[in-house]
């Protein structure tokens, strides 16, 4: 990756569902595996192949496309409903891509009645009893918070720099392995916990544009103990200086933190 080029996750092989799964199972050459992008069709009953004399495979593809469109409609509406519930509970729109409609569901009656449509009211009525479980977990949360308030401040990585306690034992520590013949100070900043295996690090760069980047910097997961390791290897000829780079979540493409290396003479 050259200087100035943005770090971005690789494009997926496809941007639509594999339509004809059964064709994928046939030996190659017998039928083209259809893995092209979706052609959404209106949800509804499948077509009758015999009615119009259409090619059965073609009609089957259309039928499957309609079925999948229905499935995506169902799950997307479910996710939107969850997001709306989260917004109602929190008193405002949930933040864009970080919000997760599946992560929260408000107890019945969370939405103001004056603004709720008829459908929402019916849905809330159906889900009335669902308020029991959130209340129960809220209770557990309150009890736990009262008993161990300090534990909630724990975050990934802090364990290595804090006095041992229960949350320290539980937090996922990151080990740092540095291979260098010269003094090197390595700092990893992760503002929030993240899936270690999904993190990747862009090459570390110095402010001076003519200095080569530090490319051998990686987060790896130990094969035996599952421990996350920040591995830094510095060649003997690398110019001294301060090098910094982003820690990026490969799943979302979001920056998660920074790594810096201060390399001495």
């Amino acid at each position: 990756m050259s200087d100035g080029q943005r770090y971005r996750r690789a494009d997926p092989d496809r941007d639509g569902p594999i339509r004809n799964w059964s064709k994928m199972m046939r030996p190659s050459g017998s039928a083209a595996a259809s893995a092209g992008p979706a052609t959404p069709s209106a949800p509804g009953h499948p077509h009758d192949a015999s009615a119009n004399g259409a090619d059965p495979d073609h009609v089957a593809d259309d039928t499957v496309a309609g079925d999948i469109a229905t499935a995506y409609h169902v799950i997307d509406e479910h996710l939107r409903a969850g997001q709306r519930a989260a917004e109602d509970r929190d008193g405002g729109p949930a933040p864009g891509p970080a919000s997760d409609g599946a992560a929260a569901k408000a107890p019945a009656g969370a939405a103001p009645i004056a603004t709720a449509g008829l459908e929402d009211l019916i849905a809330q009525g159906v889900r009335f009893y669902s308020s029991i479980v959130p209340l129960w977990t809220d209770f557990i949360a309150a009890v736990a918070a009262a008993g161990a308030a300090g534990d909630f401040a724990g975050a990934l990585g802090r364990a290595t720099s804090q006095a041992p306690g229960r949350s320290d034992r539980c937090a996922a520590a990151i080990a740092i392995e540095v291979t260098s013949r010269r003094p090197a100070e390595v700092t990893l900043d992760l503002p929030a916990p993240a899936i270690a295996a999904a993190l990747t690090i862009a090459p570390l760069r110095a402010l001076a544009p003519d200095q080569p980047p530090l490319a051998e910097v990686a987060l790896v997961v130990g094969a035996t103990d599952g421990r996350t390791i920040l591995r830094v290897r510095i060649s003997d000829t690398h110019p001294p200086g301060l090098y910094t780079g982003l820690v990026v979540d490969r799943l979302s493409g979001e920056p998660r933190g920074t790594v810096s290396v201060r390399l001495g003479q």
Partner: protein
């Protein structure tokens, strides 16, 4: 609040370090037919989960009336897909199996608790090749054992505090609470449709019911819990939910198909869903395809309680399902969902490094439509 770790190399090599593992580019290839990996990992993670279950289901008193009953369904075996998916998701994302096995045990316990209740609600006669719990011990004792199993499933989730910390343990508990509500809603839809003899249903209604009744416990929660265990943070990727839904819906349609076409290995009552008037995709398809006279007869049969339904009624429904190609329709539907599930797998897991667990999760998609 910035969290940081810092290390200083003192000017000499710290250690001879092997080259970092590199993540291969995500690849979508045709699924391997009859994957040997899936059964092997189901056995491996299933055994791990059973060992944890044994600890949590240790017999106490009154053993004869409660603990033996609570341990009955888990002891009969089962596919162990749900707990295995949880462990595999956690491992694929960088956690250890030991971190996830408690949650996996909780999932299996709750699953078995719901099976006890479902069998009572459905009036089912066989489960995993033996009579249902209520058929052996009566409804009252079976119901109580199911309640106990559900409540006991909370124990491993609370015990997660010791290994995962309070915050992660609570998030998993919150997710479990959400999942339990979704399950109850899905079951309510299915039972309510039968109770009110609702026949104006389409595939979207079916999928919504399956999303709640099946997918949250079978796939979505195990995946999200696994990701939570690995990340110790809220999961903000809808792709996990979409993949879980599409995998779970494929699984349920195949399960419903097996009820009509499976051999004796199936372990449940053959045509039991027709006896119970369950709104499966095949029945919904039949309701939409049957000519008016047949639809009227079908509606009348479904209106009757199970005990008033005769073998002739069930045989007639089964013949109509064949006549209108409902089995083939459901199979195509399941295959289509499986394809979409593979697509969503690529989105959810594609960027992760290759691993046995990642391959297992991907090959599960194929396995659920191939299983017999």
């Amino acid at each position: 609040m910035a969290s940081s770790v810092r290390a200083v190399a003192p000017g000499s090599p710290v250690a001879a370090v092997p080259a970092p593992a590199t993540a291969p580019a995500p690849q979508i290839t045709a699924p391997q037919v009859t994957s040997p990996l899936v059964p092997a990992m189901l056995r491996e993670y299933g055994a791990m989960t059973r060992a944890a279950l044994d600890r949590y289901l240790a017999a106490g008193e009154p053993r004869r009336y409660l603990y033996d009953l609570a341990a009955d369904y888990p002891a009969r075996g089962g596919k162990m897909m749900r707990p295995s998916l949880c462990i595999a998701a956690a491992r694929a994302l960088g956690a250890s199996a030991a971190d996830a096995v408690g949650t996996a045990a909780a999932i299996e316990m709750l699953h078995n608790a719901l099976l006890v209740h479902d069998d009572i609600e459905d009036g089912s006669e066989a489960r995993r090749g033996r009579p249902t719990l209520h058929a052996i011990h009566g409804v009252a004792l079976a119901l109580n054992a199911g309640d106990a199993l559900a409540l006991m499933s909370l124990r491993p989730l609370v015990d997660n505090r010791d290994r995962l910390g309070d915050r992660t343990a609570l998030r998993i508990l919150e997710e479990a609470g959400r999942m339990a509500v979704e399950c109850a809603e899905g079951q309510a839809l299915e039972l309510g449709w039968r109770d009110a003899n609702v026949t104006a249903l389409g595939p979207a209604n079916y999928l919504e019911m399956v999303l709640k009744k099946t997918c949250w416990l079978a796939t979505i929660f195990p995946l999200r819990a696994g990701a939570l265990i690995a990340s110790r943070a809220p999961i903000a990727h809808a792709a996990f939910v979409r993949f879980g839904f599409l995998l779970g819906a494929t699984f349920q349609i195949q399960d419903d198909l097996l009820n009509l076409v499976a051999d004796e290995r199936y372990g449940k009552e053959r045509d039991g869903d027709l006896w119970e008037g369950k709104r499966t995709l095949m029945l919904i398809r039949l309701l939409g395809q049957a000519p008016p006279a047949d639809r009227e007869r079908l509606t009348a049969i479904l209106r009757a309680p199970r005990e008033a339904r005769g073998p002739g009624d069930v045989a007639w429904m089964r013949a109509q399902i064949d006549r209108h190609g409902c089995i083939g329709y459901a199979r195509r539907y399941a295959h289509g969902l499986a394809g979409a599930a593979l697509h969503e797998f690529g989105r959810a897991f594609g960027p992760l490094p290759d691993s046995r667990d990642k391959r297992f999760i991907r090959e599960l998609v194929t396995w659920v439509v191939e299983r017999t």
